[in-house]
Point group: C2
């Protein structure tokens, strides 16, 4: 069970959110403060991002990274399933200046 599966799952989720928001890879990368090639690798599952990078990318797409107790995952999935694909309502791409260096 290579963790490449997890990477592809995350990437697919990001891609769906990105297309739903009608953003290009470059725009998401810009919002998340990373380069386009890097975002491409994350979205295609070619490479793992850092936790902080993934959080920035997720927020740029109107998503939030959360740690859920495993026994509550079904309940959360139930919350997600009905309106998972809702065309994004008020989603505010904030410039989010971050990433020290």
């Amino acid at each position: 069970m290579p963790e490449t599966d997890s990477l592809h799952t995350i990437g697919a989720q990001l891609r769906r959110a990105r297309l739903a928001a009608e953003l290009t890879q470059e725009q998401v990368a810009e919002l998340a403060g990373i380069s386009r090639p890097r975002y491409r690798d994350i979205e295609t599952g070619a490479a793992a991002a850092r936790a902080t990078t993934l959080m920035n990318v997720a927020r740029a797409l109107g998503l939030e990274m959360m740690l859920i107790p495993q026994f509550l995952v079904p309940a959360v999935d139930a919350l997600l399933s009905p309106e998972a694909g809702e065309d994004a309502p008020a989603f505010a791409p904030q410039p989010e200046p971050d990433d020290e260096r």
Copy 2:
């Protein structure tokens, strides 16, 4: 808002889950397949883990990493609030968030 806040938030969450499970840092590190110093840095928020590493750590603690649409975060938080986290009965006694419909 530096992302060190995010790291501390995640770390605190991991620590709470670890103590609830009565595991040592070394045991969690072993379960997650990383070294103890590395897990310590993650738990204390001293350093960011890779997304894959964070997922392995989370699973070792009975947690699952999920990407939640931001507008659903309050609902998920409500699910988590009662007694998030430890000795898990097969299903949670949900206090029925008196949410209208």
